[in-house]
Amino acid sequence: MTVNPQVQDLEKEVSDLESRLQNARSRLALTSAPPQPAELAPPLPRDPLFSPYNHALFLLSDSALPLGSFAYSSGLESYIAHNKPLPRSITPVASFRRFLNLSLVSMSRLSLPYVLAGYRDPSEIETLDNDFDASTPCPVAQRASIAQGRALLGVWERAFRSTYASGSSPYLAGDAATQEAIKAVEAFSDALKSSLDDELGPKGHFAPLWGVVCLAMGMDARQTAYVFMLNHAKAVLSAAVRASVMGPYQAQSVLASKDLQDMISKGIEREWNTAVENAGQVVPPLDLWVGRHELLYSRIFNS
């Protein structure tokens, strides 16, 4: 029996060691296990510049921004009517692509210099507005531009101003240029209200105002120009869908296409240094189509 306690002790020791081993293994397994997705994601980026600038960008590029752009086809409806019937060799979509290209290039060379000028020197907004009005050749285009410009002013006053002009967002309002833009928008809005019946007074054209409002919201110049052009492309494509030229998926595919992106980028690069005095119409028939929109027997758009 003298051996037995020894055996018992040894057996006890073995079981003890076994349980410790298991314990250690399980702890090892816990610490070296692959990270659980919920608690071990890459660290949240703490870039203070990220959210406010992009937030403004998302607001301004949203198709739900209440500018009423959906009411204008920028001459598309008239173009379709003037090119009816299409020759058999040209499909409606091909004909539309031609129009979209012409419309974008014309927009970039006519309006983009005013967007950039408004962004760079917001205090000149009244002169820019007057010169843009003087350069707009027909009442149809004038009405479309003024309606959207005034809608943008309305959105600023009723929606954006409380956030962007109040100083509640210090990283935005701290910038001197932004401050100047906010002042310019306010002053222009007052001038517009006090001279509504002056034929040569402020009108509220869209392009120069877009530049100023984007600056007031802290956007950078290139984004301002890009969103302006992209919104124009969206409006024309949306008009094309409603005019039954193409379906919504096809329209999205055009909107997403590399061609469209390149065209916008090229336009911005080309007009980056163009003075407003040198802005001009490069697609003369577009003026004719837009101007003759009034002659259409039936219309679903305002331009």
Binding site: S78, A81, H82, K84, R98, L102, V105, R109, N130, D131, D133, A134, S135, T136, P137, C138, P139, Q142, E199, L200, R270, N278, A279, G280, Q281, V282, V283, P284, P285, D287, L288, G291, R292, E294, L295, L296, Y297, S298
Partner: protein, 350 residues
């Protein structure tokens, strides 16, 4: 009025020209200045036409012929014409040489792309004065480069019938169709501006007022260029053609002021009364709408609208020069006020 130095050199640079038209009492138009230098040539004539006008201010129109040696502009040529119409004068400007030819710019050693042809016309039109500027179109040849800036200044303080009047035509063709040219030039830029100037505020010391004394009333700017700066010759050539298609001639007519008021209304009415596009003809006995329209209105695509301060802007595009010419000449003759105010000769180019 400043005293003119008798020792002032008449003209400094080539291609410059200066015309000042004054009215001597009681109502004799007289050219107080007329200078020009090669390659520009200016010729004037007073046909003694007495306007049959309802406006009491009407004086006899003087004709100015704008000429260049060779009937066109070579690369590097620059023409600068400054014209002043003193109050109540009337001037008719025409181009008796036919279309202004813009010759080819050759890119090669010793020549740069800046060697384009230029024409600047700067006209000041006083109170109750009137300009009638109906030239031939500009015909840019293959590979040419051209830039034209025409500035018209009117007084902003004048109201109603004392306002200045102007009628300006600016048109460009696809080139020499007989040689197969079809928008084959490299660049054609044309800009027409009307500025309003407030002469009375010049004396004001107030900086705010000074800034406002000049105001742009209208800017009509047309840019037809290849954009690619010659990187790709074949692609660039079709670009202007693609953008002007389907037209072979593009033009703008600008009307402003009391002398052209009737003509303005006439053209705007003509536009607004055009048959609706896409209208159905519900009656079976009446011929289709297209057949009842005036002949030329169906061949020429045009718009006419009052834009600002009573200014009327007419834009048109047509298949070829002859069609546009017959259409415009037809309208101006049918309405008749240009012939009555300036004489039939003012329509020489149409």
């Amino acid at each position: 009025m400043p005293i003119i130095s008798p020792f002032e050199s008449s003209i400094a640079k080539s291609g410059q020209g200066k015309v000042v038209l004054s009215l001597l009492p009681p109502a004799n138009p007289s050219l107080s200045t007329l200078t020009y230098k090669y390659p520009l040539k200016l010729i004037t004539r007073s046909p003694g036409f007495i306007p049959q006008s309802a406006l009491t201010s009407a004086s006899q129109p003087v004709h100015l012929y704008l000429l260049t040696y060779g009937g066109g502009l070579l690369p590097g040529d620059q023409v600068d014409v400054s014209i002043t119409l003193e109050p109540r004068t009337r001037l008719v400007v025409t181009t008796p040489q036919g279309s202004t030819k813009i010759f080819k710019t050759t890119v090669g050693p010793g020549r740069t792309l800046s060697d384009k042809s230029r024409q600047n016309v700067d006209v000041h039109i006083g109170r109750e004065a009137a300009l009638c500027y109906l030239p031939d179109p500009s015909a840019p040849f293959k590979d040419s480069r051209y830039e034209q800036i025409q500035t018209f200044t009117v007084e902003s303080t004048a109201k109603d019938t004392t306002r200045s009047s102007l009628c300006v035509l600016d048109w460009v063709t696809q080139g020499r169709t007989s040689r197969g040219e079809n928008w084959d030039f490299q660049s054609w830029k044309g800009k027409n501006e009307i500025w309003m100037i407030d002469e009375s505020s010049v004396r004001s010391d107030n900086a705010e007022k000074k800034k406002k004394k000049k105001k742009l009333l209208l800017r009509d700017s047309l840019i037809l260029d290849d954009e690619n700066n010659n990187q790709d010759q074949t692609a660039s050539k079709s670009l202007v053609r693609e953008r002007t298609s389907p037209h072979g001639v593009i033009g703008t007519l600008i009307l402003y002021g009391p002398v052209f008021e009737n003509l303005s209304s006439f053209i705007v009415d003509r536009f607004t009364s055009l048959p609706r596009i896409g209208a159905r003809n519900w009656s079976s006995s009446v011929p289709a709408a297209a057949e009842t329209t005036p002949e030329y209105d169906s061949k020429v695509t045009f718009t006419a609208a009052r834009v600002r301060a009573g200014c009327v802007l007419v834009k048109f595009g047509a298949e070829d020069f002859e069609t546009a010419k017959d259409w415009l000449g037809g309208i101006l003759r049918e309405e008749g006020s240009i012939a009555k105010e300036f004489g039939e000769e003012a329509l020489f180019c149409l």
